[in-house]
């Protein structure tokens, strides 16, 4: 299983070398608000099914508007997510009391998985499959609230073309762009497609440093 997974993933990105030991992660949150406490005390909550059904109706509407052109639906979902990400980052920073930015991408991955996903979707995806240059990782979702109640259309295309939760890729892209990171994110597997896991690949393209001239060296 592990071997087949590796070979499958191998098509998607550079062959992963044995990842170096993770860099020590300095805590970026004030001790007053560890993440479980944030979820319990600082987050206004609503019934999960309201959120899940609302997402479902958005995806269904897009499929209708774009005549089941799933490639286009993926794009639209990513775009919506991007717009959300641009705004959601402020909530993330305000609620988590984050005062300093992550010093490297490994730290960013930790914050995304353990704080971001926790406070917005109450899940903590697993970070895995780092590349040796620490610029790409995967988020593996054991649980995906958006996919509750979902069975993709049986039209011989949806399971090959539609990434049902694609909005999440856009959210990551938008949110990280606002804190000066250009990333690329896409799903490489989804249990809704019949895969055994739901996995998103996230890559750092570059740090956006607007106060410095573009790197010339």
């Amino acid at each position: 299983m592990a071997a087949s997974k590796a070979s499958r993933l191998g098509e998607e990105y550079e062959t992963p070398k044995a990842a170096p030991p993770p860099a020590p992660v300095r805590p970026r949150l004030t001790l007053d608000f560890p993440r479980d406490r944030i979820w319990k005390t600082r987050i206004e909550k609503v019934n999960a099914e309201l959120v899940v059904l609302t997402y479902g109706t958005i995806v269904a509407q897009l499929c209708k508007d774009f005549d089941s052109d799933y490639v286009e639906v993926n794009k639209q979902l990513d775009k919506m997510g991007y717009n959300i990400g641009l705004r959601l980052i402020e909530d993330y920073l305000a609620k988590s009391n984050t005062m300093r930015r992550c010093s490297n991408f490994r730290e960013t991955a930790e914050m995304v998985a353990k704080v971001g996903f926790k406070i917005f979707l109450n899940i903590t995806p697993t970070i895995t499959n780092w590349t040796s240059d620490s610029k790409q990782f995967s988020l593996v979702f054991d649980e995906n609230p958006f996919a509750d109640f979902v069975e993709l259309p049986d039209d011989n295309r949806a399971q090959d073309e539609l990434w049902y939760s694609n909005i999440l890729c856009g959210v990551l892209r938008g949110a990280l762009e606002m804190v000066q990171m250009q990333v690329e994110a896409h799903f490489i597997s989804d249990v809704l497609r019949g895969n055994d896991t739901t996995e998103m690949r996230v890559s750092l393209i570059r740090y956006i440093d607007d106060e410095l001239p573009p790197e010339d060296d």
Binding site: R87, L93, R101, S103, D133, M178, E211
Partner: protein
Amino acid sequence: MFFRTIFALIIINKAGGLIYNKTFHEAGLNKISTNDYLVLAGTFHGVHAITTRLNPVKAPSNRTSMQSGILTRPDPPSGLEVLESENFRLQCFTTLTGIKFLLFTDTTQANVDLTIRRIYEMYSDYVMKNPFYQLEMPIRCDMFDRKLLSYIREINNR
């Protein structure tokens, strides 16, 4: 005499544009024109940008670099944070996304940090979650005004 009073709030977008200004206590600060506020916002933004570059020479480089095989970047240097006159104090809070919240208060005002952070939370709720608000544009959100006013009133009447 007014002690412990919040006079006004200004919000400046990433590009230095004034996107919000509200005076809470008419008797506290003399009225200045919207144009003056625009100039104030732009000027503060510019001065802030220059002060972020005014680092002691020996400070570690501000550049992204490789450290033990990982691309690393340091925290951005903070710029001007407080400006004080005989009659008021101006505190600036810059978010990691580059928005500046400027709070004008009485010079003896306590807990300004907390107040600004609470305002930031309101901004993230009532501005950023409003489908009719366009990023970087002037803020016209009834709900934000209402929540902000009642919060500040509570502090000023304390």
